[in-house]
């Protein structure tokens, strides 16, 4: 049975492995034909910045994996507007053009629609 699953990614990339694990989980879960959405909020929005040169600290580039999500059938990718504002990040600075911006009320509504939440 297909379930609605929202994966919430709230950590910055590279300082620890949480951001990478969130993406790996999304890609793995997509294989099981579930209705998966991804929400980036708090420091998680930093994962979406262009111009990341993670090879300088010997890490795989997270920003290059994120645009692959739609290829795995994960079309619903959201970002929390307030988290972007707090960090003075504009939508033009992100690796995804098709990302949907959500305010606090939109996030509440999104959570209410889900069967399961996966928090990273």
């Amino acid at each position: 049975m297909q379930k609605k699953i929202l994966l919430i990614s709230r950590r910055a990339p590279y300082g620890n492995s949480t951001a990478r694990e969130a993406l790996d989980t999304a890609l793995a879960a997509s294989v099981y034909d579930q209705d998966i959405s991804v929400l980036f909020m708090d420091d998680g929005v930093f994962q979406l910045l262009k111009n990341q040169h993670s090879q300088l600290i010997d890490q795989k580039n997270i920003a290059s994996t994120i645009p692959a999500l739609p290829l795995y059938g994960i079309e619903n990718i959201y970002v929390h507007q307030n988290s972007m504002d707090e960090r003075a990040i504009s939508i033009e600075e992100l690796v995804l053009d098709e990302i949907k911006m959500l305010n606090d009320d939109d996030v509440k509504h999104l959570l209410n629609q889900q069967d399961h939440l996966l928090s990273f």
Partner: protein, 102 residues
Amino acid sequence: MSTLHTINKSPYTNNTLNSCLRICAQNDAILLLEDGVFGAIKAAPAATELQSLTKTGVKIFALINDLKARGLEEKLAPNIQPIDYDAFVQLTLDHHRVQSWY
């Protein structure tokens, strides 16, 4: 008798930078590295405090590789100096001790 303070956590999700700012004395230096470099951008929560510290003579640095890895080079606040790993080693020699706020 100065101290080098190192910060490796994002100031958006962690309070270590604030703890450091309270303790930091004149002639000390602060180095932001790993996720600590998110505190070096112009919009960072403690940007104003860091700026006033700079005026009192405290030098603030951010590790360039960590900035570039996260795509933050263009967002760096003007009062914070980007440095490489060699300069990091030199900083540990220039100060009497290192306090790591991890």
